[in-house]
Amino acid sequence: MADYEVHEHDVLVVGAGGAGLRAAIEASASGVSVGLVCKSLLGKAHTVMAEGGIAAALANVDAEDGWQTHFRDTMNGGKMLNNWRMAQLHAQEAPDRVRELEQWGAVFDRTREGKILQRAFGGHTWKRLCHVGDRTGLEMIRTLQDRGVHQGIDVYMECAVTRLLKDGQRIAGAFGYFREDGRYVVFKAKAVVLATGGVGRMFPVTSNSWEYTADGHALALRAGADLIDMEFVQFHPTGMVWPPGVRGLLVTEGVRGEGGILRNSAGERFMFKYLPEATRKDYAETEDEAKRWVDAAIAGQKTDARRPPELSTRDNVARSIYLEVKAGRGTPHGGVFLDISYQDAERVKRKLPSMYHQFKELADVDITRQPMEVGPTMHYIMGGVRVDADTGESRVPGLFGAGEVTGGMHGANRLGGNSLSDLIVFGRRAGLGAANYVKALNARPQCSDDEIKAAVEEMEAPFKRTDGKNPYELQRKLHEIMSTYVGIFREEKDLKTGIARLEELTDEVRHAAITGSKTYNPGWHMCHDLTNMMLAAQAIAQSALSRKESRGAHSRLDYPDTDPHLGKVNTSIYLEGGEVKLKQTPLPEMPEELKQLFVKKEATRNA
């Protein structure tokens, strides 16, 4: 068997974005030894791309805000399918986590009183997103990174975990390889925290980076955990559509938060006609009212005007744009127009600096003079590993999770800004949960040689196949299947075709092959990443087929209505004998005092 090196820790955190870093910091602060594994260099994880802000009811700008309203917005945005306890903890703890970031050195934009400034975002009743221009994720990851490196956490950069190791039912460690030279590594760990992010690279048009290959979703499934809500895939309404090389690249919701207007090729401000009945009264009725809201927001004044229709939730705006383009009212490059050029140019550059540069340099568009062209892009998966809200522990003893890899927090649709807050609220809780688990453990679980041997063989196999397939070609096939059959709008016959084609492709992926050495060989890495994406793709397609209703980000053409019965169940995916299995499990029921929050409607209007 090939050689491998061994490292020993109490807690191994897999993934070094916001959730992983925050988990590592917390576990380390609790006095246990922590290893932190990241697939990229430290500080490059997907969190760095987050733009618009972090949602926390600090009430610095709108004094009426509080955790109850944030909780209610989150649940309404998730179409009540969220794990209520996660949504509650999130809303209650986000303000402290944001203040903590500031005390660790983050420098947020300020209000005139010198407090953390907050901006409006889709689905949030009040101005709630703490931000640094449009580079909030960079600020967060750098702050956590600098905090972490001074705390004695061992960081293993450019290292990918391919298998979790178990001792009986318990987690005993993890197996992986270093990208740099392909050497294998075994981490002996009493607990593992998965913080691997999402699954976007299975879609051709996505805002996600190469790292998002469903690693944590697949690791958890193979280790015996279950995934919930995998049918809920968020398409962000505004990705770049041109030029081809940047198709899918994110255009922050902050553009709309600062007053950006969506129009079709006929010049119509189409979002007015797509507001759902249930929330229509929360939004402006006329262009004039929307303008008064924006003017007041810029001036930092109160107003009785309601927020613009562009600030509807992401699922709704993405569908609306899709339908406008499909109806022939799209732009030359197949998107719609997003316009902020009517505002003062200097203000736009100050509030949205990276959008200004992104469009200027990559698309030859000056957003202070011209509208942007935007369209939906796969952005986020609400579904993921089912974990306990308070501790982050999955049903596998010793396996924890935090951030995008977990499910439950966001229900059927995530609100913008709720992801960064999710990372630090539940990153901290999972780090603490893992540390407490480790402290209560009597003996160190043992990694078995057989498991390690199997893990090595799995990684060696692509070099041994002589008649194999090119992994990049296989990824292109996966893209084609997912975008054709498992996109924004779904229906039974498409999903069935998609599932059948995914099964064929899974066979092909088993024959993926690569030549050359193990030294920084991306094709070899892709061979394994594909196996993870295939599992998660099946989970998404089968969950989508099973949910015979439309709810949040899951839109079925053959079941356009919401089914109250299905609002009480989660779709659970698990492995049995290597096969993907599905069952519906009851949604945890909210306690009475929280239910009351949905009965009483606040009289105050949104400012």
Binding site: V48, M49, G114, L138, E180, S209, L362, Y520
Partner: protein, 245 residues
């Protein structure tokens, strides 16, 4: 569709490696990283390159394009005249791993040594936007290490043993100028970070993709602090007479 001729460095050592030529179809608005991805996806799946965001936000895809330190995701193909060969090679200042990937771990070791943010114990966390404009400029840094690559103290003289490099002067300037930070890093800057080696040639500022005014806004003010602290003639006179204060 027009074709570009890409000459890409391949190999695991600078001596034994060589440039390999690929023909890549060029689309409108294409960047160099797109061309590299095309090569990976269709011509050579072993080609090694770092990248993440493809939006100039993560600073992973640094390389030297036609000899100029650049982010490949920001370098438009139409910047080069049609028919001109485009060479892409790894950063020169750091040890080669393979092809376009270099070992930048030294930077992370430097960062660990920097005295961290240390707020004043009585801080009330109220401060004004105008007090943090400068700090926010420094915090835009995406750690692409292009400034480190171009700096002659590191590139030509390889003084990684004594010199932290522009990236970390930017970081320390951000800490020093934070309105609530209580530490003084002047001695660290002078004795451990080698600030004196910088002779303000401004090469770092020129290559910064975030347009941070590294030399003018970070390095020169830090140099002034060190001078004030250690070389102020009036202070030195008093120190000589009254001993260290």
């Amino acid at each position: 569709m027009p074709e570009a001729i890409m000459k890409v460095f391949r190999g695991i050592s600078r001596e034994a490696g060589e440039f390999k030529t690929y023909k890549v179809p060029v689309e409108e608005g294409m960047v160099v990283l797109d061309a590299i991805h095309y090569i990976q996806g269709f011509l050579d799946p072993e080609l090694s390159v770092r990248w993440n965001c493809k939006a100039a936000k993560c600073g992973s895809c640094s390389a030297e394009v036609n000899g100029y330190p650049s982010l490949m995701c920001k370098t438009r193909m139409d910047r080069f005249p049609e028919g001109q060969e485009i060479t892409v090679e790894p950063l020169k200042t750091f040890p080669l791993v393979k092809d376009l990937v270099t070992d930048v771990s030294w930077n992370y070791e430097v960062n660990k040594k920097i005295p961290p943010f240390t707020p004043k114990p009585d801080a009330d966390w109220t401060f004004m936007q105008e007090d943090i404009e400068r700090v926010q400029e420094f915090r835009k840094c995406i750690e692409c290490f292009l400034c480190q690559d171009v700096c002659h103290v590191l590139r030509d003289h390889d003084r990684k043993d004594v010199f932290a490099g522009p990236r970390f002067f930017v970081r320390m300037a951000g800490l020093e100028m934070h309105p609530l930070d209580a530490l003084n890093r002047a001695e660290f800057l002078k004795d451990h970070a080698g600030l004196g080696f910088c002779n303000i040639t401004k090469c770092c500022t020129e290559v910064c993709p975030e347009e941070i005014h590294i030399t003018d806004n970070a390095i020169i003010p830090l140099k002034e602090r060190v001078v004030d602290e250690f070389y102020d003639p009036v202070l030195m006179f008093f120190k000589k007479i009254f001993g260290k204060s």
